[in-house]
Symmetry: C2
Subunit: 509 residues, 2 copies
């Protein structure tokens, strides 16, 4: 079990310095213990003061984690698609689901709700048409009359008629589901042999679900369902990266971005009114990084306007899409410098360093995100290869949004123990755990990623203090004001105390 310290170990520090000074150390058990304790205290939550009840919970966690470590197949070393069943069946995962995890700070608008809901709910609505693209994907649209044909797609078929014709729609539904997510029961290594293949499939899936989720009634229900699912996974606050697309009605009329943002805000308030222990949501307006400079310039201006109109709801701006193929932040520097030039403060939450290639133009995004005063870093997978950026991130408390399952599925790393966040957690680097696109990966809203972080990154060493710190970090590094953060923390603490009281040694018997 992990050792927890109530204050920095002065003795250890002395011995440690003495060691550093070149005095020969020896196999002295006391010195050894001091150094082990010192190292343990440096990790995330390593200096957290724990109550007696938390210590009892920790004993339970340690036992449950030991069960995971001693499996023949260690789930964090396996592809999540193969590990999912093992993880979901584990008592540790059950406990992490129950745990109040605070906020999700990195998740995308249309990858939040289990695709099962899209298939069984959205596509079963009346007036839903589907066509088959010539690149083996599908498109959807809702329309009161037969919609206009689209290029590179078969003629539209009304799903209701198609299903009626088929009698048993299971096969059709399975095929639709397969188009809306990356998750598969087949061998993921064979299915997705390279980053190119997996990213193409990823973008194709977004193309497929687009017509469903941008239909106003589905759009509203999708977001409410998302809040329900995240709430059920014990998440209390969200910061949502949202493209704010033109949402359409059955007659083809479309709404503008302000309407979309307003809808998000109204629905959030509605949800809070029925779930008073849910703290809320904020939107990070995003634009694709493949866009032209002029488009991004307009988007930044739009973001500034929206921020003026929704000061408590719009958190900031970001660029999304595959970094390795996209334009660099530096390419957009003139657009991104606009707010500062105009004396406005538009917080940035840049995806940066979601790459395996070192020293490329794109690999410079991490440093550029920091130069552009990003508030957090999305992924920051390459941070270990950038000592200056790492130092800046640490000293300026620019938190890294770590999304373990996303990084694994998108083939940045195979065995999650080799994920750079393993080291970051050991050094208590400012970071939060998030889920990016859980619906694409077939993962839980947040608990699956917490499992990977706790077991895969943390190894035997992470403990209840680490989990607690991760939850607190998710509020401390949010876009909430300091006062709101205090409020949210009080709310969280109440949940946490309840959770700790309920889950103690009892279950080990």
């Amino acid at each position: 079990m992990a050792v927890r310290l109530q204050r920095p170990l002065v003795a250890a520090a002395c011995l440690f310095l003495c060691c550093l000074a070149g005095v020969r150390c020896g196999p002295d058990p006391r010195l050894r213990k001091e150094l082990i304790d010192l190292e343990a205290s440096m990790q995330i939550g390593g200096r957290m003061v724990l109550t007696d009840a938390e210590q009892r919970l920790d004993a339970l966690l340690a036992k449950l984690k030991q069960d995971e470590m001693s499996r023949k197949d260690f789930p964090p070393s396996m592809h999540f698609f193969k590990a999912r069943r093992l993880i979901q069946a584990s008592p540790l995962f059950g406990l992490l689901q129950e745990m109040p995890k605070g906020a999700v700070l990195h998740v995308h608008d249309f990858a939040m709700v289990d695709v099962e809901w899209l298939v069984k709910n959205a596509t079963y609505r009346p007036n839903c048409y589907m066509c088959f693209t010539d690149s083996a994907s599908v498109r959807f649209v809702f329309a009161s009359q037969g919609p206009k044909p689209v290029e590179r797609c078969s003629p539209w078929v009304l799903l209701e008629s198609l299903r009626a014709k088929m009698g048993n729609a299971t096969k059709l539904d399975n095929s639709i589901r397969g188009n809306l997510t990356l998750f598969t029961d087949r061998d993921p290594e064979t299915e997705y042999p390279s980053q190119d293949v997996v990213w193409n499939r990823f973008e194709a899936a977004f193309g497929a679900l687009w017509g469903l989720v941008t239909f106003a009634p589905v759009f509203r229900d999708y977001y409410m369902e998302a809040l329900n699912q995240f709430y059920a996974d014990n998440v209390m606050y969200l910061e949502l990266r949202a493209l704010l697309p033109q949402v359409y009605e059955l007659d083809g009329c479309t709404h503008d971005q302000a309407w979309t943002l307003q809808t998000y805000q109204d629905l959030t308030k509605e949800f809070i009114s029925t779930h008073p222990d849910f703290y809320g949501a904020r939107i990070i307006f995003t634009n694709h990084r493949h866009a032209k400079l002029s488009v991004v310039t307009e988007a930044v201006k739009k973001a500034m306007q929206l921020q003026k109109d929704f000061p408590d709801f719009l958190a900031g701006f970001d660029l999304v899409g595959r970094e390795d193929q996209g334009k660099t932040l530096w390419y957009f520097r003139d657009a991104l410098a606009l707010p500062a030039e105009k004396g406005a403060t538009l917080p940035y939450f840049f995806h940066a360093g979601e790459t395996n290639f070192e020293g490329t133009e794109v690999d410079q995004n991490l440093l550029d995100a920091l130069l552009l005063n990003t508030s957090r870093i999305g992924h920051g997978f390459a941070l270990q290869r950038h000592p200056v950026a790492k130092d800046l991130s640490r000293k300026r408390r620019v938190a890294v949004e770590v999304c373990p399952i996303s990084n694994q599925v998108l083939k940045l790393v195979k065995d999650l123990r080799n994920h750079p966040a393993t080291a970051l957690m050991m050094e208590d680097h400012p970071l939060v755990i998030s889920s990016d696109d859980p619906a694409m990966f077939g993962s839980s809203p947040l608990s699956s990623d917490f499992y990977e972080a706790f077991v895969g990154f943390g190894g035997v060493k992470s403990h209840v203090g680490s989990l607690k710190q991760l939850a607190i970090n998710s509020i401390r590094f949010s876009a909430l004001t300091p006062k709101q953060q205090e409020e949210a923390l009080v709310l969280w603490q109440r949940k946490w105390t309840k959770f700790v009281a309920k889950n103690q040694v009892l279950k080990t018997n």
Copy 2:
């Protein structure tokens, strides 16, 4: 191309501090350049002053590396067994082969010589018997008469007769070769699905070659052949981890460890006499970490005795074998504390941190190696997960012996860009590149590992200064005395200057 700095960038440091102090940075191109240069200067060899000729060589290196980076299949991200052909055919590899790389500080006695030599030379000698074990491996022995049967093995067959009977021995030779190495043309992921499987095959291969390489005439020729192959790969000095087994003669008589050590020393001198630009070799006496405490205690005593008798040749002591299954350094602490207790100095060169599991007993080896005053760390793969150990290693200049291909083949990491040494190289952590067991992996004596380090760890950023620093490190972190190091560096510098003069832009045309 990488940026090289002649002195620490004071301006950058100021701006950097200013940034840290919370002053808002902006997309200022001058500041950006300073930070990029600062980061580049922090890497291994990043502050190396380069001659004009070296800068021209760097232009060539950068071009050749770019060719590697733009391949569809990026070799460092592939399993070495699949990448080998691509690497060997690349002009960059040819250049790295020619480059004077300094010393190999981590290589094992019986995995140095291309197995082809064992098959075509050793097993073709007279009096060579083979038997087939019941675990699908083989055993060899040389004997003047039919050797005694061994347990769990078929009756002995004289290879000479067997080959005569078969007419065409190609199949037999291929099968023998397959037993002596891990390298395979088949799919390595299928062949070695887990660490357990690959380690079992690894140990089985050592079992198979044992009877060949411990036969005195083969033993001598094997070592001479090793020196030849390493010399041809432009390695000028070796520190060899050697088990110093009982070497046997045809009549079954055996020699003691002193004889074996003496033989190594005599052969090294003989080799130097014909290759005056080769600097020599030293032995690190090793014992298996599965042994009992009493055995290791005796081995430590033996090492102290041998060090007294061969003060210029025996460099120190180490424990070898799979860490995850072996006993911990702490388990052997009483044995390992013996030299210090007796006032003797027996340098240690411990394998430590060759594991993926965090927080286990074995994972404590890294810190314990440092507590036991290890002179270097073999592998240190887990170092990033141990901030205290990392700090100690850095500040006390205890170099990490990084063996990229070994770590990949033994399944610690799949894509070498995720190897922890990527970050260590960016921070100029004290380290050397080595090859561990090249014959087992089908790799070159050192050049294949240099390729992986330069292209995989270094990405676009590493440059001729990095390579130069790696070579210099291999001498600076060796067990040679400071005076010998100066001598060796003079020798190396002469080779280097020649190499640089010969390989410049010419080849790019």
